[in-house]
Structures are given as C-alpha cells and as structure tokens.
C-alpha cells in the first residue's frame, strides 16, 4: 500500500468513526463530519454543473456560431434562463426566476403525465385485471379493489362498499410490513458495506482508539456528574 493509499484509508476511517460517534451522543466530531459532507457534496454538484453547461449548451452554441446553425445558437436561451433561476435569491426580483421554473415544470409535468398515465394507471389496471381462472388472480383483483376503496372511504362506513375498505386496510398493512422489512434490509446492507471497509487492516486499528476516546469521555462525564 502506497503512502497516498494509506493516507486515504486513515482519513476515510477517521471520518467514518467521527460519524459513528453520534450513536454515543451529539458531539463536535459528528458536527464536523456533517459539515464536511455537506460542503463536499455541494462542491461536487457545482463541478458537475459547470461541466454539464459546457457539454450540453456552450459547445452547441460555439459550434452553432461557427457553422451558422440557428438551432445551436438558440441554446443561448436556456443558458440565459438558467442564469435567471438565480434571481430566486433576490426578494425584489424573485419573480424573474419563474420563467425558468415554468419551462422546467412544463416539460416535467408533460413527461410525467405521458408516462404515468400508461405505466401507473393503465398498465397497473391491466396488471390487476388478469383472467379470473385461478384463486390467486381473483384474490389479487379483489384485493386491489379493496385497497382502492379504502383510499376513497378510509374509516367511513359505507352501505355500498360494506366491509371491503376494512379488508383493504389490512392488505395495506401487509404492504407496509413489506416496506418496513425491506427498509431494514436496505439500511443493514449499507452498514455491511461501511463495516466491510472498516474491518480491514489498517483501518481496523483505529476502532480501539475510537472506543478508548468514547470510554474516556463517558467516565469523565460520569465523574463530573457525581461531583457536588
């Protein structure tokens, strides 16, 4: 392992252990790690923003000016609209940023409507309406109807719907249970990844150092609390 690699391992391990100290209590080490993370993530986004603007717009404008292509030169418009977005931060001229927002929103909403209509609504209804040739398909179709009725009626009684919304509620609890179980699986997987890096040499040797610091802090605080 080269010196640079060793330095990387030591820095990353220290940062990981700093973040884990929150499990002990709120402390300056965790705050420092938090602030470093926010700064680095935003810095990364800025770097990408610059490269994106260069590759998606500026290069097209340049080639448009060189060849006289109006379509390329027209990319000046979204560049200007992008700059106008920053007027959001001005109390006096905030309204100027709305044009940029409007264009983004208009495209976004149209794309969502186009997609969700066929994927979520029509596609899922088609998926629910399978041939009623097996008990499973009957149960699944009735189940979807029950849950949808629950969304409409919630806990209100209905002569038309009868007990179906209540059945839908229980089916929804099964769904929530699966979200919960999967949420646990996901978080544990992330911890597995982190510990996998932590439990390798030389990172491993920093763990007892961190533990000693935490124990020393706990004993000091206990002694201070015991003093009259």
């Amino acid at each position: 392992m080269t010196g640079v690699d060793m330095l990387a391992v030591l820095i990353s391990t220290t940062l990981i252990l700093m973040m884990y100290t929150i499990l002990y209590r709120e402390n300056p080490a965790f705050r420092l790690g938090e602030h470093i993370m926010v700064g680095s993530t935003v810095g990364h986004a800025v770097v990408l923003a610059v490269f994106q603007v260069r590759d998606l717009a500026w290069k097209k404008v340049q080639s448009g000016l060189a060849t006289g292509d109006i379509g390329g030169i027209a990319y000046v418009i979204p560049m200007i609209l992008g700059i106008l977005l920053y007027f959001q931060f001005s109390r006096k001229y905030r309204h100027i940023s709305r044009i940029s927002l409007a264009l983004m929103l208009g495209v976004g909403i149209a794309l969502s409507i186009r997609g969700l209509l066929f994927v979520n609504v029509i596609g899922q209804i088609k998926g629910a309406c399978k041939p009623l040739t097996s008990i499973e398909n009957v149960v699944y179709m009735v189940g979807v109807v029950c849950v949808l009725l629950y969304f409409v009626y919630e806990r209100r009684a209905s002569k038309v719907a009868g007990p179906l919304p209540k059945i839908g509620r229980y089916l929804l609890m099964l769904t929530m249970g699966s979200y919960f179980a999967n949420s646990i699986m996901g978080r544990v997987s992330i911890v597995i990844g982190t510990l996998n890096n932590l439990l390798t040499v030389p990172a491993f040797y920093l763990i007892p150092v961190a533990l000693l610091i935490v124990i020393a802090d706990a004993l000091t605080r206990r002694r201070k609390a015991a003093e009259p």
Partner: protein
C-alpha cells in the same frame, strides 16, 4: 448503579453494540449460508444471457455514495455478465451526479478497457442533468441531446454510436437507482417505445417495482445486496455481496428478536394491568 440498571438506562447503546457485533462477526468469519435465488433475479440473468450479438444494453445509473453498498455490487455483476456476451454493445449513462465515478470504477474493476474496445463495444456517456427530461431526451434523439461522451470524445468518433439514435435501438435498459428515476425509464423508454426494462434497486424501492414486475412492465429486479449476491452466484463470481449475506442474516435475526422482545414485554405489562 447495578449492571441491570446501567443496561436499562443505556439500552440504546447496548442495542447498537449488538447490531455492530451481529454484522461484524460474520464479515470477519463467514458462516457460508447458501444463497437462494429469487425469480426476479433469475429473470434478469436469463434475459441478459439471451442477448444476441448486435443487441444494445443500456445501463442507467444513479449510484451514489449513500447507496453504494447496496447497488454497486449489482452494477458490477451485471456489467461483468454483459461483457462476457460476445458482440453485445453496452452504453453506460448516468442520471445521478455521482454516477460517472462509480461507472468508471466498475469498468476498471472488470478490466473493461483491456477486454473490449471503447467506442466499438461499449461507451460511457457520463452524467446528464435534468432527471426525466434527460432520459426523455436520450430516448427521443440521443445525438440531438449529446455531442460528446463523459471524457469529451465526440460521439461521431465512436463507431458503435452511428447506429444508435433513440430508444428504438435499445434492446434492454437496466437502471440502477435508489429513487424515482427508475420510473423515468418506464415512462420514457418502456411506455412510448416498448423497450424492455429491468431495475437494480435499493431495498426500499423494491416493493413499488414488484408491482411493475407482476404487471409485466419490467422483466426483472435485482433487489439490494441480496440480489447482488444472487447474481454473483449465478455468474459464478462470488464477491462482496455474497460475503455480506451472512451478516444480513444475523442482523435480521436480531431485529426479529428485538421486535418480539418489545411485544412480549408490552403484552406482559398489559396482562398484569
């Protein structure tokens, strides 16, 4: 203060320590539990195995540091499988800001640049901002949206991109993400063009994706680290994901014990009252 009182007062730290031990010990000393294969993973494997020379596989990614442990092993396993297929063209595109870093890391991990020719067998288009609009732009007219790849090479200099213009030219799309981005590929590639789509997801997003799977809208799902482990077993390349399954098992057991303990204490207290 007695030990019981100390444990009761600091129960959180005790539980954290138990979880740490439950995950750390199997990582250091694996138990070797066999990894059963889900049908959702097997379907992805079978579809990729059935790809023919000339087919185009698009790997979309929104992998970030936060979900790296769950999704990156899936990404590497599938990339390895695609690179074993002779003549299959692979396009890597990122719709998350950290995507390009992990895409290049994965390509280097499977020694892609030594095994195949960049620009002929695979291309990395890099990150494209804009979320659904970016994916829509790719699917409508790729060359209208992008002129260069992630490294700044003109797409005109990359031979394989000559015949790839829009989603009609994509054979399959595999999206690796933690968020609603997976919906974008369904909306913009599957719905208008009928492109076959599969997801590699974090565990939390899998329940939503399962509804798409049972409706036949996606052809498979790689579910979190578990799915990555299953895929590693299928391609005969066990790695970090398989290693993590024992830790996952013990951790899940711990959670179940904690939930049962909580309810035993609760119902015991209720019975007394």
């Amino acid at each position: 203060m007695s030990v019981i009182q100390l444990l009761n007062r600091n129960y959180k730290q005790v539980i954290y320590l138990c979880l740490f031990v439950a995950i750390a010990i199997p990582l250091m000393k694996p138990m070797g539990l066999p990894v059963p294969i889900d049908q959702t993973t097997r379907d992805v494997y079978n579809r990729i195995d059935a790809l023919q020379p000339g087919d185009v596989a698009v790997m979309g990614s929104n992998i970030g540091a936060a979900i790296y442990a769950e999704v990156y092993p899936q990404y590497v396993a599938i990339l390895e499988h695609l690179f074993r297929k002779e003549g299959v063209k692979v396009i890597l595109v990122d719709h998350g800001t950290e995507g390009p870093i992990f895409a290049e890391k994965a390509l280097n991990e499977i020694k892609a640049y030594d095994r195949k020719t960049y620009g002929v067998d695979f291309v990395h288009l890099g990150y494209i901002a804009g979320g659904e609009a970016a994916i829509s732009g790719l699917c409508r007219d790729l060359h209208e949206l992008l002129e260069v790849d992630y490294a700044g090479h003109s797409l005109e200099d990359l031979p394989m991109m000559d015949d790839i213009n829009d989603a009609n030219d994509f054979t399959i799309v595999l999206d690796f993400t933690a968020s609603a981005d997976s919906q974008f590929w369904l909306n913009q590639a599957y719905a208008p063009y009928g492109t076959e789509v599969a997801f590699g997801l974090v565990a939390v997003k899998v329940p939503d994706a399962f509804a798409y799977y049972t409706a036949g809208q996606i052809f498979g799902i790689i579910e979190s680290l578990k799915g990555a482990a299953q895929y590693e077993v299928l391609i005969g390349r066990p790695g970090i994901a398989v290693k993590g399954m024992d830790a996952q098992s013990l951790a899940h057991l711990l959670y179940i014990v904690l939930i049962l303990l909580c309810n035993v204490v609760y119902f015991h207290g209720r019975g007394k009252r």
